[in-house]
């Protein structure tokens, strides 16, 4: 015991001598040095043994240092991440802390913490629920329609309804939205009609996109939702830029960007979050972590603490939520929007959910995951049923209403489908418009070539399906 205490005191003396030797030369060498971080030793050295110059860091992040003769030295930047400290014991560092998941409504529709209850009124919650049912009905019908060969492609949203409705309800119409492709509920909330959905899926002449893209690539200027594009994650840095332009225009609005956990592996995600943090944009990044990127489970997508862990390392305020709890999603989005708009700071929301559906109509997910796994998420954690339980417990929705609504909305969907099918496709000339604001000479020439060719061989081309 004596040996140990003797050793200890020897250590203290040794370290303090060591330190004072180093510290004086260190402080002398500081002189004109740019480093302003304060070195502290953690091993048994008390603060009184350390004589250090106090550093004043202004709110602008600059520190000005004057030496003892009062001569003002150059201003040095307080670089972020340099508030580190020295340690003389070697070790690797790794992620230990897993960010918790914010949830306020459990699987039975019970509010777990009344303080966090957003206390939304009946109309709002019933509307959310009805949109979820509409979404389910539309997905079911259009999936089958694709199987019958009447549309070329479709992607369903089963399992992620709460991420759509919870977040969309917390935003204002003036907030610009960039999405990936599995956010049809967001479109529904803002007022995209069944006809508008169908027209795009049928690529007919009433499609705002003039039939140029595959189904589910919706977009609407009046609803302030940018047109979907297939390449993944390209929308994320665009959302950052859009938010910056809103900040410049002092519009008081934010830009919200949806993407999946697979897309978050793209370089564009990292670029976007970093830009948003450094340029201080009013951005809300909403990641739908639905566990699957086509056939790639998230265990093969990342090793760190998923997407939320990344936000923190980029200096961005982050929250992980239960994506199947519509109220948690609502709360998180509302708070994120507030922070973005009031403080011009980006926020990252990671909504943990599950892709019950196949990736698309070109996919059969039972080839890479078990039906048992899908079944658990379809029953236990399913967001629509969870909200239904909440509504029932509040007395805001009955079985009868449920049955009636489901059958009537299915009728609406089928009617819209029929209408869309009857509309002709866009005029073939629309192949050449909108490449530029006006047709350049080469396109005028090529359009004429096409016209002449169609005139010569009308029976070989589906001209009848198009406007003429």
């Amino acid at each position: 015991k004596n040996k140990r205490s003797r050793r200890k005191s020897f250590e203290i003396i040794r370290t303090s001598i060591h330190f004072t030797m180093i510290s004086s030369s260190f402080v002398r060498s500081l002189g004109n040095a740019r480093k302003i971080s304060v070195p502290t030793f953690r091993n048994n050295v008390t603060k009184s043994q350390i004589k250090l110059h106090p550093q004043k860091v202004s709110s602008k992040g600059f520190a000005s240092k004057a030496d003892k003769d009062g001569i003002k030295l150059e201003k040095v930047l307080a670089y972020p991440g340099e508030k580190s400290y020295f340690e003389d014991k070697f070790r690797f560092h790794t992620t230990k802390e897993i960010l918790p998941t914010y949830r306020i409504m459990d699987e039975e529709g019970r509010i777990l913490n009344s303080e966090e209850d957003p206390k939304l009124d009946k109309d709002t919650v019933v509307t959310m629920y009805q949109h979820m049912l509409t979404l389910n009905a539309m997905d079911t019908v259009l999936y089958d329609v694709q199987r019958q060969g009447r549309i070329s492609f479709y992607m369903t949203n089963f399992g992620e309804e709460a991420t759509h409705l919870g977040s969309a309800a917390a935003l204002k119409m003036e907030d610009t939205i960039f999405a990936q492709y599995r956010e049809a509920g967001v479109f529904l909330w803002r007022g995209f009609t069944l006809d508008e959905f169908m027209n795009q899926c049928y690529s007919n002449s009433q499609d705002y996109g003039k039939g140029r893209q595959m189904p589910v690539h919706y977009g609407s200027r009046k609803l302030n939702i940018q047109t979907i594009s297939s390449p993944l994650a390209t929308q994320i840095p665009q959302a950052t830029g859009s938010a910056y332009a809103q900040k410049m225009a002092k519009s008081g609005n934010c830009t919200v960007c949806y993407f999946g956990e697979g897309a978050a592996s793209e370089g564009d995600f990292h670029a976007a979050i970093n830009f948003a943090a450094t340029l201080e944009t009013p951005s809300v990044f909403f990641c739908r972590n639905n566990r699957w990127a086509i056939s790639t489970p998230s265990t093969e997508q990342y090793r760190g603490d998923a997407i939320a862990g990344r936000g923190i390392s980029y200096g961005v305020d982050t929250i992980r939520v239960d994506g199947n709890d519509v109220f948690a999603v609502y709360n998180a989005t509302k708070a994120a929007r507030k922070k973005a708009v009031e403080e011009n700071k980006p926020v990252l929301i990671e909504a943990m959910t599950y892709r019950i559906s196949h990736h698309s109509t070109s996919d059969d997910s039972t080839r890479y995951r078990t039906s048992a796994e899908i079944e658990i998420w379809k029953t236990k954690h399913e967001p629509v049923k969870r909200l239904q339980k909440y509504l029932t417990s509040k007395g805001w929705w009955t079985e009868e209403q449920d049955k009636n609504f489901k059958s009537s909305v299915r009728k609406d969907v089928l009617a819209a489908l029929k209408r869309a099918e009857a509309v002709k496709k866009p005029h073939p000339d629309e192949c050449f418009t909108d490449v530029y604001d006006q047709l350049p000479p080469n396109l005028i020439e090529q359009r004429e070539e096409m016209r002449q060719h169609l005139k010569k061989y009308p029976q070989n081309y589906p001209i009848d399906q198009h406007l003429s």
Binding site: T176, F178, D207, Y208, G209, K210, R212, Q213, H217, G219, S220, R221, Q226, T227, S229, P231, T234, I236, P237, Q238, A239, T240, G241, S242, A243, Y244, A245, Q246, M248, A249, T255, G267, D268, H270, A271, A272, N274, F275, T278, L279, T433, D434, V435, Y436, D437, P440, P441, N442
Partner: protein, 396 residues
């Protein structure tokens, strides 16, 4: 003050004497008929800093009676961006190292004048720069995104080709990125090697929805850049970095634009049509001088200016007159823009051709450092091609 002036004039005299081989900031400047003299000197300012400055901030007037000022290429580009930022409150400029003026000084003084929220640095990420610019433009702003070297534009290629170029088309004109402009220095510099010399115009000319613009001189650069910024389509503006300091002209100080999509016949001739753009025109000018002297012909030189959309009609008109065509560019021959022009000309003016269309381009190799002198499509190679065109005999 007096000693400063005398120092300047003495340096100037040295410059004038050594006009054939003056080294300025490690760029080797070649004298040519289009650009006269180099008037760059290091001036010691009163605060002790050394600065490059034009000794003669001479004013003048051009043939249209506009007040002009002596500017080099980067100063003219700087002036254009200054005007763009002044006249359009939604215009912003950003990129790597743009805040302190840019590595080629194109952004000098703009941050101080227009504010840090409009002229700013981004993190080192071209795909981020491009995506960010697209998003800004989609929200209605006018972003000028600088890519530090055209060689580094490729991380941004997905955003430019898959997003910017298709933004208006895929949304059915619900949305667009009209205000978007990318600027990047391109081209050989004498010592740039693989990654500071590339000419990537062909990749972008293959993408419908984009416009690609290349100026040849300060007057052209200012007008074309203003037109590009204001053009309601995404534009890639490639600046010949070799000419940043060495190309000096009297540039109108006013706000003016030069029309996009129109090529210009910068020298009339009867015997051979020669097409080029950017810095290559100076090389072609030298070749033409040699050819006119030695072969007794006259050559017509066309500056394309806008590579996409291509003004093929100007070239056709010229080829119908001369019957012979030479196209020259620094970029590798295979898949280069010369092939596209040649294909269009043989389509539309086949019977007017008196010889196969000649292309004098870089070899199909990455741009080499030590072999640049051999690789480069220089004046002599172009002269040889002109000679071959002129001496081509159908009967053989």
């Amino acid at each position: 003050m007096l000693s400063l002036l005398s120092k300047c004039s003495r340096f100037e005299q040295r410059c004038n004497r050594k006009q054939q081989s003056v080294r300025v900031d490690s760029f080797k400047c070649r004298l040519n008929k289009l650009n006269r003299g180099i008037f760059i000197t290091k001036v010691k300012r009163s605060n002790g800093e050394q600065q490059s400055a034009l000794v003669e901030d001479e004013m003048g007037t051009d043939s249209l009676g506009r007040t002009t000022k002596k500017m080099n290429l980067f100063t003219a580009i700087n002036d254009a961006m200054d005007i763009a930022l002044t006249t359009n409150p939604k215009a912003v400029l950003f990129g790597e190292d743009v805040a302190f003026g840019g590595v080629f000084r194109c952004a000098t003084g703009l941050r101080e004048k227009h504010g840090s929220s409009r002229v700013f640095n981004t993190p080192l990420c071209e795909q981020g720069i491009a995506g960010f610019a697209i998003g800004m433009a989609a929200q209605g702003a006018t972003p000028i995104a600088e890519i530090q070297f055209a060689d580094y534009i490729f991380p941004a290629f997905d955003q430019i080709v898959n997003e910017a170029a298709k933004y208006r088309y895929r949304s059915g004109n619900e949305f667009n990125v009209a205000g978007l402009t990318f600027r990047a220095p391109y081209g050989a510099v004498g010592h740039g090697g693989h990654y500071h010399s590339q000419s990537p115009e062909a990749y972008f000319c293959h993408t419908p929805g984009l416009k690609v613009v290349v100026p040849r001189s300060p007057v052209q650069a200012k007008g074309l850049l203003l037109a590009s910024i204001r053009d309601p389509n995404p534009v890639i503006f490639l600046e010949p970095k070799w000419l940043y300091r060495s190309s000096i002209e009297q540039v109108p100080v006013e706000d003016y634009e030069i029309e996009l999509g129109k090529a210009e016949v910068i020298k009339n001739g009867e015997d051979v049509t020669i097409v080029g753009w950017g810095a290559q025109l100076l090389v072609l000018e030298q070749a033409i001088t040699m050819a006119e002297e030695k072969l007794g012909i006259t050559c017509e030189l066309i500056d394309l200016k806008t590579l996409l959309p291509l003004d093929i009609d100007t070239i056709i008109k010229s080829v119908k007159k001369t019957g012979k065509l030479l196209i020259s560019h620094e970029a590798p021959k295979t898949g280069g823009l010369a092939g596209e022009i040649a294909a269009q000309i043989q389509e539309k003016a086949f019977l007017h051709l008196e010889a196969p269309i000649a292309r004098v381009c870089g070899y199909d190799t990455p741009f080499p450092l030590i072999f640049e002198r051999f690789y480069f499509p220089d004046a002599l190679k172009n002269f040889e091609a002109i000679q071959k065109l002129v001496e081509y005999d159908f009967s053989k």
